[in-house]
């Protein structure tokens, strides 16, 4: 998951790397003794770029100014995300700004390290200048990383070479040990005395590795609202995204690719699905709980008028699934929309019998099912 700047910097700090001292605050009415030493930068915490230009990163010289900045930022919307908290940190003065990043090269099965002596907000412009951004693809072992980093910083001024070499070696360890898939520090401040610290932190963690990263698990536990996808994966074992809050068709579907394709096709046909879902039928194991949860979420769509169930069962027993579905529907009685089922695969005949008993017709053709969805939508329109 893409960490908020504050969480990224906390991770770095816990790994022993230097960052500007900072605190995460969710109210302008804070206890002043929580602040680090001033003067400060006040930085809205949303998982998106372009904060500076949107006025969401501001300097503050006194406590009153910090409170004013926070009052302005909290509750503001940036790229359709609400600012729920700000990081207030000690401002770094008179530092050189460099750039350093670590990513994975999936094809080369290696770590790509990128370094620019001149970083900051204009890194995209720098990237156009030949030689300004140095880059190497390195094996993920410590020796190989260190050797490559030595080549990357070779030829820079002694102060920059020493500072960026130290930064890169230590950040490379963090990248590997903490199971990161992106680690970008821009700007990386190099101070006059040759020390460095991370001015920003763009970090993407690997959710699959959360079982061996206690800090990441703690973060997900703490911040369901900030990291809803990771939280859902950790606690519900399925993927759910509201793709259209005003959509009128709820989807109960399995398989990421097929569910995405279904949404693509429905939209192309002028229909408005409310949600993406990969319910993972293979993980239900006879318990309707996950289906109950999912139906509750879908029922929250204010305009949802029909539920389309689309399951391609390579392995899942559709008879058993249909029983679970009926049980789940009965546990969400307030969700009273018509149900259209399109099921293909193992024991589809048993499913047909089960669903028929509740008046739900089973389709095997997706086109037919979509036609039935349209009928229900038309019925839902007031005369």
């Amino acid at each position: 998951m893409f960490l908020l700047e504050h969480d990224g910097k906390s991770l770095l700090a816990r790994c022993g790397l230097p960052v500007a001292a900072g605190v995460l605050l969710d109210t302008a009415d804070f206890d002043p003794s929580l602040l680090p030493t001033g003067p400060w930068m006040v930085k809205a915490q949303v998982a998106a770029g372009g904060r500076g230009k949107a006025g969401l990163v501001r300097a503050a010289d006194d406590l009153a100014a910090v409170r004013r900045c926070m009052a302005d930022m909290l509750g503001a919307t940036h790229r359709s995300m609400i600012v729920r908290s700000c990081r207030v940190e000690t401002r770094v003065a008179q530092a050189h700004e460099a750039y350093l990043s670590f990513t994975l090269d999936a094809q080369a099965a290696a770590v790509r390290v990128m370094l620019a002596a001149d970083g900051g907000v204009d890194i995209e412009a720098q990237a156009q200048v030949a030689g300004a951004v140095r880059s190497l693809v390195l094996a993920p072992e410590a020796d190989a990383l260190d050797a490559g980093i030595a080549r990357l910083v070779d030829g820079l001024s002694p102060r920059l070479s020493a500072a960026l070499g130290d930064a890169a070696r230590r950040l490379a360890r963090v990248f590997v040990d903490e199971d990161l898939t992106l680690l970008e520090i821009n700007p990386l401040f190099v101070l006059v005395d040759g020390t460095w610290l991370a001015g920003d932190a763009r970090i993407v963690t690997d959710d699959n590795a959360s079982y061996r990263q206690a800090g990441l698990r703690a973060l997900i536990d703490d911040r369901a609202v900030a990291y809803p996808e990771a939280w859902r994966k950790e606690h519900h074992g399925c993927d759910y995204v509201v793709v259209d809050p005003q959509g009128d068709i709820g989807l109960l579907t399995t398989g990421a690719g097929l569910s995405m394709m279904l949404i693509d096709e429905m939209r192309a046909a002028g229909l408005r699905p409310h949600n993406f879902l990969d319910v993972r039928t293979g993980g239900l194991r006879g318990d309707p709980t996950r289906l109950v949860d999912v139906l509750r979420w879908i029922s929250e769509g204010p305009r949802v008028k029909v539920l389309l169930v689309n399951i391609f069962a390579g392995i899942t027993d559709l008879g058993e699934f249909s029983n679970l579905l009926l049980e789940a529907l009965s546990r969400v009685p307030q969700f009273k929309v018509p149900v259209v089922a399109r099921l293909v695969g193992t024991r589809v005949d048993a499913a047909r019998t089960v669903l028929a008993a509740r008046g739900i017709a089973l389709h095997t053709s997706l086109d037919e099912a979509l036609a039935q969805v349209r009928v229900h939508l038309a019925e839902g329109v007031p005369a």
């Binding site: 994975l104 770590v111 699959n208 590795a209 079982y211 690719g257 995405m260 192309a268």
Partner: protein, 294 residues
């Protein structure tokens, strides 16, 4: 180097055979025709599972049976070690349906299999199959009709649906390989181009891709570089997915233009691929080719 060639005679191991999934899928694969010669499990007290002998280690299983391929049904946390064990034991093809492998584990495992010249399909793959002959993994029989179409897919379910519709239309598959939806994996679309170019039973190719990553673009480049002469069709899921949000697969993430549907479609079309906008369109296009070739 990448060689996913298997047939009904390939001796296959199942690592993790004593687990719930291991037992079920070993039986299903065997019922389909796969020559399951042994299972591997650290549970020393289990001598056999449904008649398949169980060994404590891959090395013992390979020594006793001569297995050359292995299907791994073990947990994500154990997967990297289990692949390494298979490679060390001399297995040449590993298929790993397990979901949730940490990316850094996948990175190291990819380096390991490349160094050993072993072919690794996965992780997060539904598996692979030669229709009517052998399957390694979960591919459903309703979608498996023997025929001349090579099929590669990131997504399991979308490939099932594709195979199902093509089967209904009378178009069968030659070798079907699910490369999986993870960002770092053992075998990428582009790396299979030489195999399908050389594969006599494959007369055309369908790739079932999705947004995110750069595999479709690499694949398009590989088609050009290898002067791939067979017709190629593509179906790409996620055209209408919002940017910056992961839709299920960890790899299915669009940032700006990178990984977008438009970028993929453009690259594929430049390489002469017929990009289909829907399952229906894909089925019609492939069926038309199939009918025309007869």
């Amino acid at each position: 180097m990448i060689d996913p060639g298997v047939d009904r005679n390939t001796p296959v191991l199942v690592q993790g055979i004593t687990g719930r999934a291991g037992r079920m899928h070993a039986r299903r694969m065997r019922d389909y025709g796969t020559r399951i010669v042994a299972g591997v499990s650290p549970r020393a007290e289990v001598a056999d599972v449904d008649g398949v002998p169980v060994y404590a280690t891959c090395a013992e299983a390979v020594a006793a049976t001569g297995a050359t391929a292995s299907v791994l049904l073990v947990g994500a946390a154990q997967l990297a070690d289990a692949v390494a064990e298979a490679v060390a034991a001399g297995i040449r093809l590993v298929v790993t349906p397990t979901e949730g492998m940490p990316v850094h584990d996948a990175l190291r495992t990819r380096r390991l299999v490349q160094a050993a010249g072993v072919t690794w399909i996965g992780a997060s793959t539904p598996g692979m199959a030669v229709a009517g002959e052998v399957k390694l993994g979960f591919l459903p029989e309703a979608s498996l009709l023997p025929g001349p179409l090579g099929l590669m897919s990131k997504s399991g379910t979308l490939s099932y649906e594709s195979g199902y519709r093509l089967t209904a239309a009378g178009v069968g598959t030659s070798v079907w390989i699910g490369v999986g939806g993870d960002p770092v994996k053992g075998t990428r679309f582009a790396e299979l181009v030489p195999f399908y170019a050389a594969h006599a039973g494959t007369e055309a190719l369908l790739i079932v891709g999705e947004i995110g990553g750069s595999e479709e673009e690499e694949f398009a480049q590989a088609l050009i570089e290898h002067a791939f002469a067979k017709p190629v069709f593509a179906l790409i899921a996620g055209r209408s997915s919002p940017e910056g949000i992961t839709m299920g697969h960890a790899g299915a993430l669009v940032h700006g233009r990178h990984g977008s549907y438009a970028a993929k479609a453009e690259a594929l079309e430049r390489a002469g691929v017929t990009v289909c906008g829907s399952l229906d369109e894909m089925t019609r296009a492939v069926s038309a080719w199939h009918a025309a070739r007869a």
